[in-house]
């Protein structure tokens, strides 16, 4: 059970970190005045500083209003539901990288329908494959947009 206060602090720290990354990355290119105007690093540097400053502002706001922020940010069962949604998405991206988007689509849809939708494996599998085929027809044939493919498509001779 995460409180809103913790979440605010965590996110503000994250944004401050991103701002800092912008500042550090900008230093590499110089932040002053070059021979033809401001150096490339100037704009990202000040933007980064702005983000860090505003993040610190949020941190201070959260700390000062600490008592009002004790409400629950994420309940345990909510977190479980989100995780059960997020982890398959993550797996989808990993699988897509290696096996192509179509195979990943089929596997993802099958898995989610079977495990979370509680449909029978046969139905889930059929839907997953049907989904992948539909996407193939719409995108590759109708719109001529190529998608990431993997070893299965190579074996079938589809490019």
């Amino acid at each position: 059970m995460i409180s809103r206060y913790t979440a605010e602090i965590g996110t503000a720290t994250l944004t401050a970190g991103l701002g800092l990354a912008a500042v550090v990355g900008a230093l590499e290119f110089g932040i002053g005045w070059g021979d033809a105007g401001p150096e490339p690093g100037a704009f990202p540097f000040y933007i980064g500083l702005l983000v860090v400053a505003a993040s610190i502002g949020t941190l201070i706001q959260a700390t000062v209003g600490r008592h009002g922020l004790q409400s629950v940010f994420l309940h345990k069962d909510e977190a479980k539901r989100v995780a059960s949604f997020f982890v398959p998405m993550l797996a989808f991206v990993v699988v897509a990288r290696f096996l192509g988007l179509y195979v990943a689509t089929a596997l993802y849809l099958t898995f989610v329908m079977w495990v979370q939708g509680k449909y029978r494996l046969v139905i889930a599998l059929a839907s997953g494959i049907a989904g992948a085929v539909i996407f193939y027809l719409v995108l590759e044939v109708a719109f001529q947009v190529p998608l990431l493919k993997g070893p299965l498509e190579a074996a079938l001779g589809l490019y």
Binding site: E8, E78, M89
Partner: protein, 504 residues
């Protein structure tokens, strides 16, 4: 007026069978996108954009704007039938729309919503017709400092007029600029902020950000609530539609006032969401039936819908004439224009008048087509939401990822979309506004170029931003807006030093 001659010519460009078919397809897709969670107007437009690369720009923008209207209508539908706002700008519609539906007046609520929306949108388009060449001529006097001042004004208005904490708005905006700066610098050719990742060479596309933030993030949020769509059955009875149309003129004051609010908020740019809330609040305060508001008062549906759509249409005006988008969706469309090689701004009116007036003409047609189609197909779309989320959710996820891949054909974008999804989820839960982030990503390069050129022109002195009346006025308004939250907190404390004021 020369504008109307151009408009008639535009109708000639827009009124082809192909274009009208595209309008119908666009509206249908838009309603679908507006009705489903996780797909909204900005996301839907982003998903369609890569598919339009092979189309000619007029046809492509007609498709996208039709989809935009459709999405707005779809968002109103779920607000009324399911108490779930499909778009942030439809939140105000739930206040009276859902109670009306619960009292068995679903058809009436829907019809009122669609007709007022159509009215508001048409007023917005009318405004564009009348004002656009004037604004474009005015904008021709703009040089780099003025452009930077206008961008600054746009972002300051988010800080000043937005409901979120100013710090969070600034963080969101700053991150958008930082993401826009990643990749090759147009002036020096250096690779900025890539930290050695070769995948970041071409930068981070705003389309990926929108798909992740608005799409995946929204879905994760929906998942958290374990959403079930217990909606009200909607059967559009044709007779009710006509009787409701007859009652619409009764609300003429509300219609006109809300359109005015919407147009104003669309141009400045405050956004359709702010417009709908402002209009609802004002209608409630000024109405003779104020106690009915919140319990199914028809005026409570007319007011926000009119303002919402008027703002949505008029946001296109600053986007076209100045190159400053007034909403997240306008920002995405502007990004699309830039990808097609069209530069929004006054030069667009001079170089490509056929495109501009074809677009404006199509907005009239598109709205009429949209209202007709949405009235006819609502029961169909409402029943789509009965499909269990276990099927719809993953399909939407797949659509989002495929959409992300089609932008540039880079597998790395899938990871980026996922990352933006997590960020979008966090930001939405913690009330960080996302529209400034998208706007900053679209405008980032242009704003930076404007700033650098101004600096070069003034040899490093900031005084160039006060050098003439126009730019000084813009900067003053911008600074006033940006400091407004701070000033109001300070005055609040000074006036009532003893009252404990929760920091906004």
């Amino acid at each position: 007026m020369e504008n109307f001659a151009s408009l008639l010519h535009g109708f000639g460009v827009a009124l082809t069978t192909y274009h009208v078919l595209l309008m119908m397809v666009g509206v249908l897709l838009g309603i679908l996108v507006g009705v489903l969670p996780g797909l909204g107007a900005p996301n839907g437009v982003s998903l369609l954009l890569p598919l339009t690369f092979t189309m000619d720009p007029v046809a492509a923008i007609i498709l996208l704007t039709s989809m935009y209207w459709g999405a707005l209508f779809g968002g109103s539908t779920t607000s009324i039938l399911f108490n779930i706002p499909g778009e942030p700008s439809s939140v105000a519609t739930t206040f009276d729309g859902y109670p009306m539906a619960r009292q068995g007046q679903a058809t009436r609520a829907l019809t009122l919503a669609f007709l007022s929306a159509g009215f508001g949108a048409l007023v917005g388009v009318l405004l564009i017709t009348v004002l656009s060449t004037w604004v474009a001529k005015f904008a021709l006097r703009f040089s780099s400092p003025e452009y930077f001042a206008v961008y600054f004004l746009a972002f300051a208005s988010f800080v000043g007029l937005g409901a979120a904490s100013p710090f969070k708005t600034i963080v969101s905006m700053g991150l958008g600029f930082a993401f826009a700066a990643v990749g090759m610098d147009t002036v020096s050719g250096g690779l900025r902020l890539t930290y050695g990742f070769s995948e970041l060479l071409s930068g981070i596309s705003f389309l990926i950000a929108v798909i992740g933030l608005f799409g995946l993030g929204e879905l994760m949020l929906t998942m958290e609530e374990g959403l079930r769509f217990d909606g009200i059955r909607a059967r559009v009875k044709v007779r009710d539609v006509f009787t409701t149309i007859a009652t619409l003129p009764r609300y003429w004051v509300t219609l006109l006032r809300s359109s005015a609010i919407g147009c104003w908020m669309g141009i400045i740019p405050g956004g359709p969401t702010a417009a709908s809330f402002m209009s609802y609040g004002l209608a409630k305060r000024l109405s003779r039936r104020k106690d009915g508001f919140g319990h199914g008062e028809p005026e409570g549906v007319v007011a926000p819908e009119t303002a919402d759509h008027a703002a949505g249409s008029s946001a296109i005006l600053p986007m076209l004439a100045l190159g400053v988008p007034g909403s997240a969706t306008a920002a995405v469309m502007m990004g699309g224009l830039m990808i097609w090689g069209l530069n929004p701004g006054p030069m667009l009116f001079i170089e490509r008048p056929d495109f501009v007036w074809g677009l404006i003409a199509s907005m009239y047609l598109g709205n009429i087509v949209a209202v007709l189609m949405v009235l006819a197909t609502i029961p169909l779309f409402a029943s789509i939401l009965r499909i269990p989320f276990a099927i719809i959710g993953p399909v939407i996820v797949v659509v989002c990822f495929i959409g992300a891949y089609t932008v540039a054909g880079r597998p790395f974008d899938l990871w980026l979309a996922l990352a933006f999804g997590v960020v979008g989820y966090l930001f939405k839960k913690l009330d960080y506004p996302i529209a400034p982030l998208v706007l900053a990503m679209v405008l980032g390069d242009k704003a930076e170029d404007a700033f650098r050129q101004s600096m070069i022109m003034s040899r490093g002195s900031l005084s160039i931003f006060w050098s003439n009346g126009l730019v000084t006025t813009l900067m003053l308004i911008a600074i006033a807006l940006a400091l407004a939250p701070l000033l109001s907190t300070v005055f609040g404390r000074l006036v009532k030093p003893k009252a404990s004021s929760a920091v906004a």
